[in-house]
Symmetry: C4
Subunit: 222 residues, 4 copies
Amino acid sequence: MSEEKLDATIEKETGRKETGRIEAFSDGVFAVAITLLVFDLKVPTPSALEAITVAGLAKALYQQWPSYLAFVTSFATILIMWVSHHSIFKMVYKSDSPFLFANGLLLMLVTVVPFPTSLVSEYLTTPAAAIACAVYAGLFVLINIAYNLLWWTASHKRTLLNPDVSPAQVKIHARSIYVGFPIYLLATLLAFLNPYLTISICTVMWIYWIFTFAERGSIPAA
Amino acid sequence: MSEEKLDATIEKETGRKETGRIEAFSDGVFAVAITLLVFDLKVPTPSALEAITVAGLAKALYQQWPSYLAFVTSFATILIMWVSHHSIFKMVYKSDSPFLFANGLLLMLVTVVPFPTSLVSEYLTTPAAAIACAVYAGLFVLINIAYNLLWWTASHKRTLLNPDVSPAQVKIHARSIYVGFPIYLLATLLAFLNPYLTISICTVMWIYWIFTFAERGSIPAA
Amino acid sequence: MSEEKLDATIEKETGRKETGRIEAFSDGVFAVAITLLVFDLKVPTPSALEAITVAGLAKALYQQWPSYLAFVTSFATILIMWVSHHSIFKMVYKSDSPFLFANGLLLMLVTVVPFPTSLVSEYLTTPAAAIACAVYAGLFVLINIAYNLLWWTASHKRTLLNPDVSPAQVKIHARSIYVGFPIYLLATLLAFLNPYLTISICTVMWIYWIFTFAERGSIPAA
Amino acid sequence: MSEEKLDATIEKETGRKETGRIEAFSDGVFAVAITLLVFDLKVPTPSALEAITVAGLAKALYQQWPSYLAFVTSFATILIMWVSHHSIFKMVYKSDSPFLFANGLLLMLVTVVPFPTSLVSEYLTTPAAAIACAVYAGLFVLINIAYNLLWWTASHKRTLLNPDVSPAQVKIHARSIYVGFPIYLLATLLAFLNPYLTISICTVMWIYWIFTFAERGSIPAA
């Protein structure tokens, strides 16, 4: 067996490469951020209940429904972002500093997700809902821009890409990332018309992605 | 040494395979979720004590006993879930999108565990205990469904399983997962009869699993 | 090169073995638990200050000194526990279920550390200090018992140990773990005489360990 | 292929060495600490708003601008620290106890970052800003000292360094770490003149690092 083949075998089997530690660190950040979303689910304080009875607690838990909606949508969206992140790193075999800092920007925005999630949970059923929902969808616009930046730093001169990634794949991947931008921008603007539209679009987005994921073959990007 | 043997040797030693990054991400989520349970243990505020004395603080800490019970039961249950998750991934050597999203659903439900844990801690000794306990055991019903789904996506056409997993093993494993469903469902319903029954069943479950784990040879599933 | 030598080479280089995923999960739990200690450091609320001035904030920060002490002692102690955990796993090459659950018990107790840390921070300078300090040192007694249990499950029949670990090493290691037990027990009891004694002993312990770590060659165990 | 070459190939590909578990643990701590910064972003409570309207919530969110500034600066600074940490470990191939505990000190200080970040967020626009900003920049002074200590334990006798690291590289690296010390010390002192100067220096520091990172070739150190 030649040395090159051994190299390739080991890399294939171990999945290790120059970008390994960046990937491991990014995975850690994604895993912590997605788990911190649980703090969005608040235990109603006894003093906030109408009565400390089965009915009183059931009602208080029911009235928190915006929390549950925001939690599920944020969790599913971060999960898809992680899959997407993974798919970018599968095509990349080394890193440079623009790529490193585009990834840093992306991670920063991902860790912010629990903040607007709680904002939506708190304000969705109040007259201030428009701002909460605009911030929520607006963050997804920024995350989409960070993904485009990350992909651009990786692919624009093909310097960081695996040689076996075809130009057609680069194009398809770029297009699958672009597509989120106008949709989330629309969702942000529609918040001022009707905040429930914003949340509906964000919810439909992750459901659509999950169900089309297999067929498209290409990978979704938040 | 042939190339295939080297492949096998490296895979055996390194434990790396196509599902490696999913496993690492899942482990991260399990590790964070299990550690966040500590927030269920609250430091009594000085103003809530009868008197800021040894006796006053001792009494306040004693009265938090539902927290300690809920903490231990949730910790042990998530730990068993992790062992169980590990055992499923040991039999799987590649992933597809249904498997990926069944795993995502499972992780989402696991990260939720700290929420009903705190609910039980807060309300177990109040008249609202039935709801708190029903939500607690109800989450374990949902987690059990997610495990069944994960195992089904992995095994129903055997496409993702290691070739050395026998049909008998698949059957035994499926059965060991099913078994939690009726028990947790019963625990959920019994909450409305007596909430302490629910907590007792959840506690007995993890103790039973740990003590039968070695003998059964097969692996428990929450 | 023979196949066995390749196996050994790969294992040496990659550090992978049957216990790899348990070790990675444990590391994750240690890393999260040690980082959550920061929540012990509280930002004084503006309303709690004598005056919102440089002097007012400086005084409020100064009065939180028990937090800083408890934070540093808990951080250093968990760090030493992690080193100790690492040293046990270096001598172990496979796991069984008692070992797995002894490790689970240890992890559970490690994740609890932020709780008595905050208790000490809140109550060290109050008349209720004895209870807070007794719980703090008492947890370290329990953690010591869990370490003894872990080492016992690993070494009592030598079934899980690397063959190259000598009986003398097993004895030395066991002794280095035992030693913490009487000291932390004493620290727990002394809390009722003088709580500052408890904290002093816990502080001296980690300082002693760090400075003797290199000379002893053997590894400390909390 | 000789055994040595295989060793080298495997190590190169897998990135595994004696320091692997320390690196993985450190990465875990960095990843959790950087993600916990999100708790600095607080959801305004409805009762704190002038009015629960779009304008009321927008104003409350706008008035939290010190949080956003502190969050971004802390995130970017921890990210650069991580890159820096990574670059030190790339030159090191084994560890000893001083190195291990210098790394522990560094990690402890990194986990503290969310505390002064929240302090700045809370007090930047109050008369108590000087203390908050001095603590913030002061922590970066301490972290810089820890980095110098870590590099010194690694390089002073060259015992832990990869043999292929040249004395010139050691010198350049040491200088790139020293440079942060006088700047952060100045930032700390200037807090008492004008707190905004402190924050500006901390902000300029990470922007400068990111933009010079590529050209310098050498790696920044906080």
